[in-house]
Symmetry: C2
Amino acid sequence: MQESLKSFHSYLTHNNLKLTKQRMLIFKVFMSGQDEMSPEDLLNIVQDVDEGISRSTIYRTLKHLHSAGIARCIHRGDGTTYYEPMGDQSCRMICERCGRTIPIKNPYFECIQKETARQQGFTLFRYQCVIHGLCSACIEQEYTAPPGTTTHSKQRRPA
Amino acid sequence: MQESLKSFHSYLTHNNLKLTKQRMLIFKVFMSGQDEMSPEDLLNIVQDVDEGISRSTIYRTLKHLHSAGIARCIHRGDGTTYYEPMGDQSCRMICERCGRTIPIKNPYFECIQKETARQQGFTLFRYQCVIHGLCSACIEQEYTAPPGTTTHSKQRRPA
DNA sequence: CTCAGTGCAAATGATTTGCACCAGC
DNA sequence: GCTGGTGCAAATCATTTGCACTGAG
């Protein structure tokens, strides 16, 4: 958190941006979140503290957090976007149908990613690896019903 | 193509769906495309053949192609969605900033993915692996200018 | 004191949907 | 002929933007 705050501050300074109380609050709330969250989620929590903060400011600030390398951003298949603090698990599997997320722990995976990136001349300053597939529950249903027809599909954030 | 057509037909049959001339045309155009394409791209090509086909039908059909396991779908960071036929390279790196795409060829990579998926109880019927990062060109600019300020950023489909 | 930041409301752009007519099986 | 398919226009939903005012450096 201290480290990230430093990055944020440095980013702002280098880009002629100001550290407003809104940005500070959003930063703090974002960093203390355990899970990935949508701009809307973040807005709700932030507004519990300061009623006046607008959705636009959330969006604008999230972009800065992302540019500063503090936030990772996750585009779900259903058009929603989630953000989470950088640092922890950066690889995951996502079921294309139900949205279930499973973090990947295989240590070889990371090494190979980095090495592959290097080989391709792709400097991996920060990264995120996502394997899109179908989870077992969804596979069972794949040829049983068209998408959107089942209770299992379309759920966004399974518990 | 023959194989895919069979899958498509089987999918339709199993789901009580009909093989209309619109679906057939969209299927053919989609399968003969070399590159990934957006619904809009597809619409344009399809309309060169049949003026009357609507955007809605393109979207509806693409969903079916995806459900049938024929189309892979790629969500870009800028909110656009692209589709491409399944089969060829399934791993790639994408620059989060400029959208540049680099296919990954490392053979170990695929093996590890499959194995990891298996270990996590994630049956990988079909998959797609994406590493999001920053390409070297964008890294140079990362602390030089905020996002959206440079000519390099925001480009969607670099040549 | 100046330039960037903010809230608000309106704009945008991708995707979806309701509906009345049309066409596979 | 019944059921699902289609085009169209209107609706949605996430995200962005123009603008006049406010506040950080």
